[in-house]
Structures are given as C-alpha cells and as structure tokens.
C-alpha cells in the first residue's frame, strides 16, 4: 500500500513566510507523489500546529509526516513526539529545513522559494521510504562522575551528594579547590576566598557520598548516556593517604625546593609564589583537601640521584614510599559533569608588556598569590627587591578583546582589577593607575563596587596601555617601569612611570581542552571552550547526552555564575539518575545475515568496537547497544549487507534525487 504523506508548511511567523512564498510551496507540495494532505500554519511547533499533525494522523490516515520548517536540530524531537502521541511511529517523520538553510540565508525571494521546493521534494521522497523503528530502553546508572575539583566541581558534587546519590570527584591536582583556592579576596564583597571555599572543600572530603580521587587523570571514556565506563589513573603521590596524619614534618625537614628560591637581591620571586611549602614534598596550600602531601618527582633529590629520603625518616607513620606506583581503575557512572576550568593566556606572547622579561611585571593570578596571607610575603605587596612599591599600574585586556589573540571579553578582569586596586590602597600607600578600555561592571553589586573605588583615589585612565618598558627617557622614569598609553579622555599619549605592573591576561580554555573534548566527544567552539547544547536555553548540557559542563570550561565567568551553572549541571545529572532508565535512539546499523559474506572489512572500522565476527555462522554482527549509528560501516560494506536505520542507501538516494530534480 502506498504511503499517505501529510505535508505541513510552517510560516514561522515571517521568518519563513517573509521570504518564501507559502502558497507557492503548498501548491507545489500537492503535486508531489504520495502526498495526501498539505497544510500550512503560522507556528507548526506550537500546540495548535502540532495538533494539525495529530488530527490528520488519527482521522485522515496519514502515515508519513513531512514538516517544512526550521532545522531538525531544533524541532525534530517536538514533531516526533507529536507523531508518537497520535499513534504514528515517531521515525516516520522527516523535516525540510527551509528556515536555517533557506529563508534565513537567501537574498531574493524567488530563489528562496525554488530552493525550498527542492528541499521539500527531497524530504517527501525520503519519508516515503522510511520505516518504523522502536527505541531501546536502557537502565541508567545513578552514579555521577565530576571531572574537575574547582568551585564548580565542588558545588556540583555537594548538590548531588546531598540528594543521596554517589559522586566520583576526579581532580588532577593533588588538592581540590582549583583557581578559587589561590585567590585572596573575591569581588565585589571582598569575601576571603579561602574562608568561603574551605568549608565546602572539607565537606567534600568528609561526605559519605563523595569518593574523591585527587591527583587523578581521566584516560578513557567509553559507553553512552546512563552507562559510561571511565578509565582513570590515580597518580602516585609517594605518600600513603591512609597513613598520613598531616603533621607536616616531612615538608618542614625537606632540604630541596621545587620552585626558584629567593637569592641575593631577588627577595621575592613573583612567578614562584607558592601558597603551601615550596619544598619538593609539599601540599599545594595548607588547607588542601586531601590534607596529604605529594612529592614533586622533578625536584626530589632521591628521584634525581638516589640520595636523601629525609622525609621518610621524619615521617612518624611511615606514610612515605618512593616506590609507589600509579593505580589504574575503571569507574562506571551514568552521567559526567565536566568542570575543568581555565588557564590564563600566556602574557609573554605579548612582548610589549614585558612579562617574563622585565622584573615586577606580574599576571593577575601571581598578584593574587602575592596578596594571599598564606603566601611567602604573608600577603604584603612587595617588589622583587622586597620593598613595597610606591606606584602600581593595572592593565586590562591583555590578550582579550584582541583580534590577534582572543576576540572575546574575559568578563571578570575589570572587577578583579578594581579588587586589586582596593587591596593595594588598603595595604600600602601606593598610587594605583588603572588602564582600561571599558569598565565592565555588569553584575550584582559591581557598579556599586566601582563607585566605591572611584572614591578611594585610584587613578583611572581610559586607554589601553600599549607598552611597558624599563627604558627611561625622562629623569623621573629612572629605575621605574614606564606604561605608555593613549589617554582617550585627555586626548594625548602618556608615559606613566610606576614600580610594579599587574596584567589582566585573558581567561582561555585549558591548554589540553582539545584532548579532554576528544575523550568525551565534546565539541568546542572557535575559542576552545566546550560547546553547550544551546547558547541561550541549554548552557550546561552538551550534544552528548549524559555529559554536562559547568564553569569556566564553558566560557569565562565569575564565582557566582560558576556556582549557578554547577548547580544547574548537577540538577540535570540528578534528573537523569532519577529517571532510572532512558530511551536510546533506534538509529543504529544492522547487518543482513543473508547478504553478509563474512569479509570482515567492517569489523575494524567501528570506533566503538560494536561489530563482532560470529565464528559459527562466519558472518559479522553489530551489537546494537554499542552502535552509535554513524554509518561508516554501512558505506564500507562491499556487498550492501549493512543498513543504517533512518539513513539507508535507498532513503538517502531518494532524498538526493528529490533535491536535485
């Protein structure tokens, strides 16, 4: 029996109707083979629009549906559900993308209408050959894995753990806390970062539902939503977590440093401001969770030349063991939250600012370390020679808002520049010069904070600094760093001599973001941050079902926004876990036993190892649970034994013929 196709043309308001002739398309649709009904409506995705489909299926015997409207990536689910609700198999639907691929991108109306007709003809031809398919239901593992133990990972872990579910929190550094643990104060409230973060860190460490795997890397992720298998490597600290009692004797007695030691005139080493002991056996901060040290293999004397082991002798519980090995293990979870944070733009790339070349030029993060009470200066703002500066310049947008490096704005720097300005005014008598392009004070309490700073005597200069130089031209510049800028409010170029310069480098995706994306199958945008499912309406989900993102790995943001996203991702993961089971798309590939010759060409092609060779029948067979429906095997099979459901050869060929004729 020939199919009875219902064609539904959407106006999408004026998005389609304003460019494409709806009447023309409708008339054309009526001429296409097997088309029984043609309807048009202003918004097909709306309730009355969907009802048109449902009524025609129930009352007019429509058994194939074509919706000519927006992209299937937008509303395929919507219309599939409408079909299903009416009793028609949801896979007997096909869409013609006459909006994103037609009305929105074509200049003149006549061409747009012709293109829409071609796309529609292709859709009608394909839908006639589609076959009903049934989704598989698979159980969901309620456990959640969170990759990244910064404030985003910590918040998400606590939210999920409090709901009674189990969380595996994976952190590659020896301690959780991320970048926030390295901050002194947070804007705009000037809360002490450690004071508000440490209680949460402790809670994570003690929570019965959180299994914290610190100093651990994710090596492989297999599986699919509800059923992920993750291989992790727990790196060896060379300290036994169970035996260590946190006394600190080891690092107190350790004779070697893992960072540059201050020497001679260099009393403060700005790029080595550790917040914990600077020794080869160390904790990243004294509030580390787990509160267990780790040995830095590169600088440890024993690892370098087989001598020392002072730490082993000092340790009262015998927790230190230089022969410890990495431990690899596999964890099964149902969903994954990626909260891997950010790295800072390497400011030495912009040579004109002198970072790495001229002393007393620091990045924002280094300046934070300098201000931390647990740092080597006890929180005092000091120059390399150990003296307090008499003047400091803070330069915005290093690498941000710059077509040569990162076009985007890093969102938090204006506010932390203000914070720094305040801290300097509070702790020293130094003059503060703040060089900005714009002052972005968009958040809650931000504008008020800016106004407060305006009254604290900070000298704001509207003009991006072009250069930091230590070559004096005028007498007052001797021994100083000179910031050269275009003061746009004064209307002239200025040279401002200062003692210290703080740069606000761009926040960028972590250096290995591309590898992480590959591990999980995530897309990333041009600037390297992980791609969310939808920039407006789905900022924490991704194209991969069951994998969520939160925090700066998605885009630069401050702590409140990070925490909000973390809770959002946690809620999505919990919603998945609560469901118990989930439907997997039926669009897998299948091998026809009668046609397969057993050549095994397909066996090695599958990236998911979903194809096995059945020895007694001497043919290949696809494991439906593992197949993701990419169709690579289908294209390769020399005898056409493999069909990719919903994308079979005859279906695609019909669509090709349709759009071309």
């Amino acid at each position: 029996m020939p199919p009875k196709i219902g064609v539904y043309i959407c106006h999408c308001g004026t998005n389609i109707a304003g460019k494409v002739s709806i009447d023309g398309i409708c008339e054309f649709a009526k001429t296409l083979p097997n088309v029984a009904i043609v309807r048009e409506y202003k918004f097909m995705c709306s309730e009355p629009g969907q009802n048109l489909i449902r009524e025609d299926v129930k009352k007019k015997g429509i058994d194939r549906v074509v919706v000519a409207s927006c992209s299937p990536l937008m509303h395929e689910k919507t219309f599939r559900k409408a079909c299903q609700d009416a009793g028609l198999n949801q896979y007997l639907l096909h869409m013609a993308n006459i909006r994103e691929h037609c009305s929105w991108v074509t200049e003149d109306n006549a061409s747009a209408t012709e293109k829409a007709k071609a796309l529609l003809r292709g859709a009608v031809a394909k839908v006639a050959l589609l076959e009903p398919l049934e989704n598989k239901e698979v159980p969901i593992n309620p456990n959640v894995m969170i990759i990244g133990g910064g404030i985003a990972g910590i918040q998400a872990a606590l939210d999920i753990a409090e709901s009674g579910r189990k969380v595996y929190l994976i952190e590659r550094e020896p301690s959780i806390g991320g970048h926030m643990a390295q901050f002194d104060k947070t804007f705009p409230t000037l809360d002490c970062a450690a004071c508000i973060l440490t209680p949460k860190m402790v809670q994570v460490g003690q929570h019965q539902n959180i299994e914290l795997l610190s100093y651990t890397e994710v090596e492989k992720v297999d599986g699919y939503v509800g059923n992920f298998k993750v291989k992790v490597r727990i790196k060896s600290r060379y300290v036994d977590i169970e035996k260590c009692n946190g006394c600190g004797d080891c690092w107190q007695k350790c004779p070697s440093w893992r960072v540059e030691k201050p020497k001679g005139d260099k009393k403060v080493v700005h790029n080595a401001l550790t917040l914990g002991p600077p020794k080869s056996i160390y904790m990243p901060t004294l509030q580390a969770i787990p509160a267990v040290p780790v040995i830095d293999k590169e600088s440890c004397i024993y690892f370098k030349n087989g001598k020392c082991k002072i730490c082993v002798k000092a340790c009262p519980t015998g927790a230190i063991n230089h022969d410890m090995q990495d431990v690899c293990t596999e964890i099964e979870v149902g969903s994954i939250i990626v909260a891997t944070g950010y790295d800072l733009f390497d400011s030495s790339k912009m040579q004109q600012y002198g970072y790495g070349r001229i002393p007393n030029v620091l990045t924002g993060l280094e300046f934070e370390h300098l201000n931390c009470a647990s740092g080597p200066t006890g929180g005092q703002v000091l120059m390399e020679n150990g003296e307090p500066p008499k003047s400091i310049a803070i330069i915005h947008c290093i690498g941000s808002r710059d077509k040569n490096y990162h076009e985007y704005c890093s969102r938090v720097c204006c506010m932390y520049a203000l914070k720094f300005a305040h801290l300097v005014k509070e702790k020293t008598h130094a003059e503060v010069y703040d060089f900005y392009i714009d002052m972005r004070a968009f958040g809650k309490g931000f504008e008020e904070f800016y106004n407060r700073l305006l009254e604290e005597g900070v000298r704001f200069i509207r003009g991006k600094a072009a250069q930091v130089s230590n070559e004096a031209i005028y007498p007052e510049e001797e021994g100083k760093l000179v910031v050269r800028c275009d003061d746009t409010l004064l209307g002239r170029v200025r040279r401002v001599p200062v003692d210290m310069v703080v740069l606000c480098p761009a926040i960028k995706a972590t250096n290995d973001a591309a590898e992480v994306a590959r591990l999980l199958g995530l897309c990333h945008s041009k600037d390297g941050f992980f791609a969310e499912k939808h920039p407006k309406l789905a900022p924490v989900s991704t194209a991969i079902d069951g994998v969520f993102i939160a925090g700066c790995c998605q885009s630069p943001k401050d702590i409140p926004d990070t925490v909000a996203q973390a809770s959002g991702a946690a809620a999505q993961a919990m919603s998945l876990a609560a469901r118990g089971s989930i439907e997997i798309e039926a669009t897998t590939s299948v091998i026809d036993e009668d046609i397969c010759t057993g050549c095994r060409i397909c066996n090695d092609l599958c990236p998911y190892h979903a194809i096995e060779y059945v020895l007694d029948k001497k043919i290949s067979k696809i494991n439906e649970a593992l197949c993701k429906g990419c169709g690579t095997c289908t294209a390769a099979c020399p005898c056409g034994a493999i069909s990719a459901k919903q994308f079979k050869d005859n279906q695609i060929m019909a669509e090709i013929e349709g759009v071309l004729s």
């Binding site: 897309c523 294209a635 493999i642 069909s643 060929m653 071309l660």
Partner: protein, 145 residues
Amino acid sequence: MAFEPNILGIFCNWCSYTGADLAGTARIKYAPNVKIIRVMCSGRVDPQFIIKAFSKGADGVLVAGCHPGDCHYIEGNYKTMGRIPILKQMLTQFGIESERFRLEWISASEGDRVAEVVNEMTEQVRKLGPLNWKKETDTKDLKHS
C-alpha cells in the same frame, strides 16, 4: 539567462550541518545553489551517493564533515578523507572536473565558512558550466539496502 549550478550538499549532523544552521541563525546570506541533505557522519557518505547525484542532474557535490580529530564518532571523517580523494580521481577520468566535487571540514561554529565555501563553489561550477551527465547510471547493478 545565467546558468544556475545545481549542487548537492551532504553535511554531517554534528559539525557541518550545525554550522550551516549557525549561518542561518546569523542570517548570513549566501548563494542558494547548494541543497543540503543530512547524514549522521561524513563517514556515511558512500561513493554511490556521489555518482547518483551527478547522474541525476547535479553540477557539483559538496561533502562537509567535522575537522580531523573532532569527529563526533571519533574516526568517521578519517574514512571520508580516504574515500573521497580516490573517488575524485576516478571521476576526473570520467570527465567530471575536480572543482565539481569538493570535501570541506566545517565545524559547528563556522557559519561564515559555510557561506564562503558555498559562494566559492557556486562560482567555480558556474564557470565550468552544466555537467549534463545525461547517461543515467543504471543503479540496479549497484548495491542497494
């Protein structure tokens, strides 16, 4: 009347099709000559599709997939990278100029690239003129599923 090339586009769901959607959302205007159909992965593209397209009136075929290393299905686009050039060589021997058959890597964020490639290819094919591959390849002998 100027010759309007009739070009088929086969775009993979995860990167290039999404990229084309982005061009739409951004209202980037480009030549209407490429009609896009969707496959889940560029690795699905069977050489038969290309031959079918040319035999059914296509003056050009554009296959678009994820950048190497970014394939949603890990390696599908590597298979495409292997198949397409071989097919291209074969087709040139049948008189189908290499500009008529193009493989592009377009990511989900490269809406502007979609427009760029479509415009460029349309003009190239326009200069070459219609293919007029009247002889319809008998597809009964080729595999079907």
